[in-house]
């Protein structure tokens, strides 16, 4: 099995083991550990739960419980590139319902799925802290304000060239 960014299995295992051991030494290190693994691999592979559990002296079920609780953590291969449409109240007040309804159509991708050709996901998010200039969209690390449905594809193309 190859990870998302094509790390060989052995290298991936070594990476997970090191991340788990490092973070297990700090108080409450499980979330930082999971963030680090996902940043590198794009998701939390099921077959690394045992390694993490051992390092943290937890059961596999407990680690699974944490992974499944948080929206940020993914359990299937995915890119770390992401387009997020803010769907919370302040953005609703300035037009995000239309953006949410039309985004899939103009981008050619369903919510919570990977784009068939371009390497990104489409997600809903609830508040990006840009509430005075909504509707807001986040593409990777950047937030865009007052986004209009018609300009969304161009914004995405510019930030994530296919």
């Amino acid at each position: 099995m190859l990870s998302e960014n094509s790390l060989p299995v052995k290298a991936m295992k070594a990476f997970v083991e090191k991340a788990a051991t490092d973070h297990a030494a700090s108080q409450g290190g499980l979330l930082p550990c999971l963030h680090e693994i996902q940043a590198k691999l794009g998701y939390i592979p099921d077959d690394c739960l045992d390694t993490i559990a051992t390092a943290f002296s937890l059961s596999r079920a407990e680690v699974h419980g944490v992974v499944s609780f948080y929206h940020d953590f993914r359990t299937s291969p995915s890119s770390n590139q992401c387009v997020q449409i803010c769907c919370a109240e302040a953005c609703q007040a300035s037009g995000s319902r239309a953006l949410e309804a039309g985004a899939s159509g103009v981008l050619g991708i369903a919510f919570d799925e990977m784009h068939p050709t371009d390497n990104y996901r489409l997600e809903r998010v609830y508040c990006l802290g840009n509430c005075a200039c909504g509707p807001s969209v986040r593409i990777n690390e950047e937030v865009y304000g007052r986004v209009d449905l018609a300009e969304l594809p161009a914004l995405v193309r510019e930030a994530i060239p296919s």
Binding site: G28, F73, C127, A132
Partner: protein
Amino acid sequence: MTLTVYISQDTTAVAVGADRVAKAFSHAASEAGIDIILIRNGSRGAFGFEPLVEVDMAEQGRVALGPVTPGETDALLAAIADGQLDCHPSYLGPVNDIPWLANQTRITFKRCGEGDPLDLSLYRQLGGYQGLERALSLSPQAIVDEVKASGLRGRGGAAFPTGIKWQTVLDAAGEQKYIVCNADEGDSGTFADRLLMEADPYQLIEGMTIAGLAVGATKGFIYLRSEYPRAQKMLEQAIELAITEGYLGANLRGSGQRFELEVRMGAGSYICGEETALLNSLEGKRGVVRAKPPLPAIEGLFGKPTVVNNVLTLASVTSILADGGAEYARHGVDRSKGTMPLQLAGNIRRGGLIEVPFGVSLHQIINEWGGGTRSGREVRAVQVGGPLGAYLAREQLDVPLTYEALAEIGGMLGHGGIVVFDDSVDMAKQAHFAMDFCAKESCGKCTPCRIGAVRGREVLERVCDSTASSGDLILLRDLCETMEQASLCAMGGLTPLPVKSAMDNFPEDFGVTDNHYEVAV
């Protein structure tokens, strides 16, 4: 000639084009052979004017232009060279005289936008670290007394008196205590924490250090939501620089006192803004709410006595220590002391951060500061206090913004978010969203919230589809009552607030006219 220009690096400023304007300015200046010093400052929170460009003019001080587009930069530079800047259409005048800013009472946000957020010497020059210097000379009890005297109440939403919380932690026995900053600002319509962390990160660091000295805690955590990557970078850099200057670490400014600080990232869970869920999350667990008691002040993070405060609460403490609690308490009314950073958002022409003493009316904020809706249509509903706050109708906008006055009309001030909706809003859809959001974000620990929100969502789906029976609205009231009375935390307990206020204040959107619903009950 060398020109000093300030363009903000804040998330919202950049979201509306500040990076492009900054680039265009540098380019235009080099083309014109003008030397410029471009400082990427924090934002003043005047988001309706962003991208805001400030130019340092020798005699007038800093003058502001906004909103500026990248295409205007050549003309702006030419206008500066000709001394004709005040004729430019986006000219706003000296930045401190812009009414939108000048009419505020800035205490917590006074430094935001003044300069590079990471410039520690500027922070000190503008009064920073005076609070800590004073705290280092006081006993823990004297620090807590100063906070008590200020009347400061938690700015995160629950409005618990900060001094009493700190006293409990100070009095709790324990070798290890913690300071936890709740920077999981998940409420839609709020961005004050983000703005402050991006524009004045040292103030939060200083406030947490003072809290540590006050209660005897040597370690602090900032729990930051993952939706705020800029704030994360800013805080991490600021912590590094503060360590270098001896403002954090094993020997605070040579006093022999210790305080260490770490930023921890959340993972997209709204409920982790609830303090006990946050503590579980920090411990590396599922963000499930804990039953209280024990209070976190007695058994908090890793079972140790813990102060959990919001970003703005901790930041406010710096001024309280520097200038005295009595000075802070001069502002505000009733039991709402000091200033409240309000956040004007949604469908609004000039939204942003408005720090004013408690007691200013909602009407003033929306019309005088906000200039009405961005769409130009009439205001129909205003949600105050985040997703768990009430939807107020136009007739209620005279309410003064204090904890007490909002509670009187069945609302709450929460973290100070104000979201304006115009007359195109469908309030049944907003009520549906409130239940839907609760169903998605419930931690699942208590039944009223976990099941109640799902049932509530189903009823409201029928209302939105116009397939609801009259019994459905009675059922919805009943569900709301159960959630209010029996939920473990504010998520389940307050989700009924937007739902019920939408039903009460906008009955026409729920397929019932005026009082028919009341008759049915």
